[in-house]
């Protein structure tokens, strides 16, 4: 009994202590919950564009969210711009429920770390929020154009996220992941970029950062090569000379590094499976000979895609495949000796590919090839 009493008193003390401080008590309807935030750099200052739901058009019985409203804040730093955004709003503003951060091209070119540093210091922000770069334009343009065209921006971004999940097994463009990559100075940062289409957003490849500034955009094949090497690819189409199309359904990659006299050799083993999706020839492709031929061709196809990624890395000298982390883990002792020279070594990395594959689940409904007989 006495113990319980002591515990109750201690808990009461903590509670009163909590009450006396700012517990941030605010009803959910008194806050503008930002769904999407754009971060831009224009005219020498940072501009934050926030989308939130307004009460207009909301149906309490149906729980519909109401119309999207846009608000803008400006400042010499992103945080200053956020404070400006807060001041301009009638209600208090929260980024606790922001699912997507769009970084404009100029802001990305300026410095990615500066753009997201204030987010990392906000205790309410969701660390799983996704970050995208808007290719060729400002994030605010993406948002305003989208709203003008009648798009619901956060729903379109949800669709993009779903598409991304169809292609890869995990999203590496979460806030927490990108913060980690930024922290690791030897690793090149890559973030997916978005392209504005007529009535939607389109997921492009990866935007490449050097010294935390946007330097390049990779095409889809090169980006897929990165995903295969990083072992996060879920699905990818393979087109073999307009005759047969396959879809990568399973892939597993293992990377080994060898370090010899400051020469890094990386061996990439990939096992993958594909399914036949389209056959435009009259011959029976499911004969052993033909299947072996297809298997070889798809191996070459995947190797070529991976080569695009490795070639880009070696030619640009940017560690977009995170080989530094691999070498550090596999050769801990030697890493300290070469760490300082790593930037110069990236271009000299030798890549070897060991690819094995098989064609599975052909889904043949009739006899024969399934071609145009």
């Amino acid at each position: 009994m006495r113990k319980s009493l002591i515990i109750i008193i201690i808990m009461l003390f903590f509670q009163l202590y909590g009450c006396s401080h700012d517990m941030n008590r605010r009803e959910i309807d008194e806050i503008n919950l930002i769904h999407v935030m754009g971060i831009d750099y224009k005219e020498g200052e940072y501009v934050l564009t926030a989308i939130y739901s307004s009460s207009q058009g909301a149906d309490p019985e149906k729980g519909s969210e109401g119309d999207e409203e846009v608000s803008e804040g400006r400042g010499s730093t992103p945080f200053e711009a956020f404070q400006n955004l807060k001041l301009k709003n009638k209600k208090s503003v929260s980024i606790a429920n922001t699912g997507y951060f769009l970084i404009g091209e100029d802001a990305a070119k300026k410095n990615i770390e500066k753009c997201i540093d204030f987010l990392s210091r906000d205790e309410t922000v969701k660390m799983e929020s996704l970050i995208f770069v808007t290719q060729g334009s400002e994030a605010s343009y993406f948002i305003s154009e989208g709203i003008e065209k009648g798009q619901i921006v956060h729903e379109d971004l949800e669709a993009v996220e779903q598409k991304q999940q169809e292609l890869v097994t995990r999203n590496d463009n979460t806030l927490v992941n990108i913060l980690n990559e930024i922290e690791n100075i030897t690793t090149g940062v890559i973030i997916p970029y978005l392209k504005a289409e007529e009535n939607s957003f389109l997921l492009g490849g990866y935007a490449v950062f050097d010294n935390l500034s946007l330097v390049d955009y990779l095409d889809l094949d090169t980006s897929a090569g990165i995903n295969i090497i990083k072992n996060i690819i879920r699905a990818y189409p393979i087109y073999l000379d307009d005759d047969v199309a396959l879809s990568l359904s399973y892939s597993k990659s293992r990377i080994k590094s060898e370090l010899d006299n400051e020469q890094v050799k990386v061996v990439i083993h990939v096992d993958f499976e594909t399914m036949v999706k389209e056959v435009n020839v009259n011959e029976d492709i499911f004969r052993n000979e033909a299947l072996n031929n297809i298997t070889e061709m798809q191996n070459d196809y995947i190797i070529n895609i991976m080569k695009k990624a490795t070639n880009y890395s070696t030619s640009s000298g940017r560690d977009i495949l995170q080989i530094a982390r691999l070498v550090q883990n596999q050769h801990t002792k030697k890493w300290s000796e070469i760490e300082g020279e790593w930037d110069n070594m990236i271009s000299d990395i030798q890549y070897e590919f060991d690819v094995k594959s098989k064609v599975t689940k052909s889904f043949i409904l009739g006899v024969g090839s399934g071609g145009f007989e």
Binding site: S4, M23, E27, S53, A58, N97, T124, V125, H154
Partner: protein, 509 residues
């Protein structure tokens, strides 16, 4: 001289007074028809009536309570033999008559000689019939009780699809018979105890002497013997004495209407208590997992039983914390909600003038009012009121922007989940704790909710019931009894009894 005279008068007076008190006390403790007549002269239902039993001028007195005896059996077993038994006519003294009746002359199997006045009164007031033999200061007691009683019916609270349909009734002897019918073991002990100075309520202490923990049995027996109240009118009177932690809201005695459940617990080493006039059996020691079990779990396939239990535990968590979680999430830490849920909650709360805490607490109180009103009303009106209270008022409140639809859903879900508990005492306790959690969340959000959870767990861990941890086997070092808690393993795995309940007699088969 005068002083000495007064002293001698006083001494005589005190002596006479002492003798009179002693005479009365002796009289009160002797079995005597005249005294009984005087004692019950104002009670219309008490019969003290002389019966001349043969030609030898032996008169016995009938002592019984009208309305509690079986009249037909009385005529057959008592009256007929007294009047027409030829052998009885040959008895010359009261002693001879008594001996003849006790040795088979009485046409009734349950016949005993009683010399204890207190016991005699108790027997007769419980419905037996006594023949008073004044010169012997003894009585012969016939157990020919019969009073209006319910027949054995289906359990109203613990009905199952598959399994026994019998439940206890208000008659103690019938209830003990229901248990005895299920456990035909020579080790089954049914001890008869009494509580209540005036009510003298019979309480049966039931246990298996070769399995039950002797310390527990002794402790329960001594508690019942020490109960000093006038009347055992409601179950709570006994419960409060048997509970070791009276300040806890959690039920520490399991009650059941089902004899099969009692027998199962007896074979696990627990002790049962049956109280005359109460159609339940109490089972001790009680642990929280027992209160989450239902006879249905064992009547079904073990996977179905396990899934039912998981749902029950989930419901307990849901009913305890859902309203509090909603308050904390919508008032303090909205980041806890997924984006879409936060947005739809925000939209639902638009135009509602009250805070989330007021909405939830208000609706919870309304919910309790509807339940309480539903209990008091007749069944037909109760259904109509449920529709009016639940649907009409709920819908109107949403339309009038008094509460948001999300809160209605939250409170309804928490309310319904609370009624999944098989034990109503546990259900009521959890409903009260739900309020405390909601208030804590309203004051300091998730901090308060966390503090509440810590306090709740601390309290549960501190509960000890007849040397058994209340939340055992969750806190036990040995995990073997976990097989019958959240999951219901196949019966073949139930090889051992709970160690803390049975002591060393752990192996079942």
């Amino acid at each position: 001289m005068v002083g000495t005279h007064y002293e001698s008068i006083n001494r005589d007076y005190i002596k006479r007074l002492y003798k009179e008190i002693k005479r009365r006390a002796d009289m009160e403790n002797r079995i005597n028809s005249a005294w009984l007549k005087k004692l019950f002269e104002k009670s219309n239902d008490i019969v003290v009536r002389p019966i001349k039993i043969n030609q030898n001028n032996i008169t016995v007195h009938l002592f019984c309570v009208d309305g509690l005896i079986n009249q037909a059996l009385f005529d057959e077993a008592v009256f007929r033999s007294l009047k027409f038994d030829p052998y009885l006519a040959q008895c010359k003294t009261e002693r001879e008559t008594m001996d003849y009746l006790l040795e088979g002359g009485a046409y009734h199997v349950f016949t005993i000689e009683e010399a204890d006045y207190q016991l005699l009164v108790k027997y007769v007031l419980s419905g037996m019939v006594a023949l008073i033999f004044d010169s012997e200061e003894k009585a012969i007691v016939y157990d020919i009780r019969m009073f209006e009683k319910r027949s054995i019916q289906e359990p109203s609270e613990e009905n199952v699809m598959k399994g026994s349909k019998e439940s206890f009734i208000e008659v103690l002897r019938m209830n003990t018979a229901l248990i005895r019918r299920r456990i035909r073991s020579e080790y089954l002990v049914i001890e008869l105890l009494t509580a209540g100075r005036l009510s003298k309520t019979d309480i049966a202490l039931v246990y298996l002497s070769n399995i039950a923990n002797t310390n527990t049995v002794n402790k329960i027996r001594s508690i019942i013997n020490s109960i000093d109240i006038d009347n055992v009118s409601t179950p709570a009177f006994i419960e409060e004495y048997l509970i070791e932690n009276r300040h806890s809201i959690f039920p520490q005695i399991m009650y059941t209407q089902r004899p099969d459940r009692v027998s199962a617990n007896l074979t696990d080493g627990r002790v049962a208590l049956l109280v005359d006039g109460i159609p339940f059996a109490y089972i001790l020691p009680c642990q929280l997992p027992m209160l989450m079990q239902s006879p249905d779990d064992y009547a079904n396939h073990f996977l179905i039983g396990s899934s039912l239990r998981i749902i029950r535990y989930m419901s307990m968590i849901l009913t305890l914390f859902l309203p509090a979680f909603y308050i904390a999430a919508t008032t303090y830490q909205s980041q806890m909600l997924p984006v879409q849920l936060a947005l739809s909650t925000q939209a639902a709360k638009q135009n509602v003038p009250f805070s989330s805490a007021s909405e939830v607490l208000g609706l919870l109180i309304s919910f309790e009012i509807i339940i309480e009103a539903g209990l008091r009303l007749p069944k037909a009106v109760g259904t109509a009121m449920s529709i009016l209270g639940g649907l009409v008022v709920g819908q109107s409140a949403v339309t009038a922007n008094l509460v948001s639809p999300a809160v209605v859903v939250i409170v309804a879900l928490a309310g319904i989940a609370g009624f999944i508990m098989p034990n109503q005492d546990l259900s009521s306790g959890i409903r009260l704790i739900r309020f405390i959690m909601a208030v804590l969340a309203a004051v300091v959000g998730f901090f308060g909710l966390t503090a509440g959870v810590i306090l709740l767990i601390t309290h549960l861990c501190s509960l000890d019931n007849y040397n058994t941890a209340y939340i055992s086997p969750f806190v036990d070092v040995e995990k073997r009894n976990i097989k019958d808690t959240i999951f219901r393993f196949p019966v073949k795995y139930f090889k051992k009894r709970p160690k803390d309940v049975t002591g060393n007699k752990q192996f079942k088969q």
